[in-house]
C-alpha cells in the first residue's frame, strides 16, 4: 500500500465548481486533485500531476454535493 504524504479533510480542500474537482496544495507548488465523481465512486486518493506524492481524502460520502 502506497504511503500517503498526508490525510486531508475534505473541508480543507478547495472545490472548483466548473471542473467538479477538489484541490489541495502540494509542497511542490502544483495541487493534489480528485474529482467529485471519483469520490462518489469511493475513491479517496488525490494525486499531484507533478510529483509522486499522494494524499488520502477524509470525507463523509453522504455529505458530497
Amino acid at each position: 500500500m502506497a504511503s500517503f504524504y498526508d490525510e486531508i479533510e475534505i473541508e480543507d480542500m478547495e472545490f472548483d465548481e466548473d471542473e467538479l474537482t477538489y484541490y489541495y496544495p502540494c509542497p511542490c507548488g502544483d495541487r493534489f486533485q480528485i474529482t467529485l465523481a471519483a469520490l462518489k465512486d469511493s475513491e479517496d486518493i488525490a494525486m499531484c500531476p507533478s510529483c509522486s506524492l499522494l494524499i488520502k481524502v477524509i470525507y463523509d460520502p453522504d455529505d458530497l454535493p
Binding site: 473541508e11 480543507d12 478547495e14 496544495p25 509542497p27 511542490c28 507548488g29 502544483d30 507533478s50 510529483c51 509522486s52 506524492l53
Partner: protein
Amino acid sequence: MVLIRALGSNSGGQLATGDMEDAHYLATTQFSQEGNVDGEDVRAKWRVQGGGNHAYAWTDNGPTLLACGSNADGELAMGDGVRGPVLCWTPVPFPGDFVRQVACGWSHTLLLNDLGQVFATGSGAFGQLGVGPLPKGATAKWVRVAASTGSVFVSVACGMRHSLALDKDGVVYGWGANRCGQLGIVPDRRSPNILAATPVEGLLPIAMIACGRSHSILIAQDYKTVYVAGQDKYAQCGPGSSQSGTWQTFQLPRAAVKLCSGWDFGAVLLEPDDKRLSNNVVMWGRADQGQLAHRVDGSYRRELGYVELPEVSDIACGSSHTVAMTAGGSVYMWGWNEHGNAGDPTLANVYSPLCTLDEQPAKIEHRAMGIGCGYGNSYIIS
C-alpha cells in the same frame, strides 16, 4: 550586478529562469528589460522569497521590487490583466518608497514597506488578506491590511493560508485560516477563518515570527522563549508544554538569530557559542523526507536537535526542505528533493546537509551572499 540562481520546482514559472522546466542544477534567473538591475547600487543587499507558484526579489530597505511566477490569484500584484506565468523578474509597483520585507503564502503575498505599513495581494479565500470578504475572493492590487490605527509593523509572515504581522511594540496580529488554531485563537468550526487582523494576547513581547502550513511560531524579545500554536500532528509545536490551551512554549539553548518554518517543521539559527565551534541550527517537527537533516524513527521528532553543520550564518525553509549558508559563504541543503530543490540531481531525498555551493567557487562572483526559498525551490544570491 546581482546574480540569482535557482533550483527546484518551476511549474508556475516561479524560478524566473525563462521557462517552466524544473531546475535540477543551479540555473541562472533572468531579469525583464524593465527589471534590468545593472544600474543598481552594488552595495544593495538582495532578498528572495517564494510561495506556492510565485516569488519576489527585492533590495533590502531599497526601492526595487521584482516578482515572477503565477498571477492567477493576483499574488504578484500585477493587476487583473496579467495572469502569468511571468517567467523572469519583473518590476512590481508598491505603496511607499522602500521594501522592508515580503512574505509569500500558497497564493497570497504580504508586503511591509518603509513606513511600517502592511499590504496584501492574492487570494483571500481564507481571509488571509485581512480586509474582510472580497467580491471575487481575490485581489491583484495591493490592499492595506487594517489593524488598530497607527500600528507600525516590523515584520510579516505567511503560512499556507494564514498571515501574521509583528508591530514595533512586540504585539503579533494574525488573520486568515484558523481551523487548526494557527492564529492562537481557539478554532470555531462555524468560523474557521479570521477575516480581520486580530491581536494575540497574553504572551511576552515578541521579536520574531514565522508561519508553517497550519501552525505559527513566535520568539519573545528574550530571544529564547518560543511559542507555537496550530497543527501538531507532526510535532511542529515542538517540545514544550501547553499554555492556556492554545500556545505551546519551550526555551532555546542559546539566543535566536533567525527563525524559519517549513510546512510541518521549525528551524532556528542560534547565535554562535563562544568558541564558534559548535553547530548552531536547531530543528524539530516532521522528519520523514529528511527535513531535520537526520534520519529518525517514525515520521517526526518533537525534541530539538542540532543540524551537523558549524558556523551557519543564514537559513531559509521551503515547504519540506531547508537551505543554509555558512559564514565562509558555502551553501548546504537538505530535505525533500523530488524536484532537485535540495541540490541532489538524482532527486532522492537528502537526509544530511549536502554542499551545493563551495566556499571558493571557480568564479569569485558566484560566491553566495544570500539565500531564499519558495515552497519547492531554492535560490542562491551572489
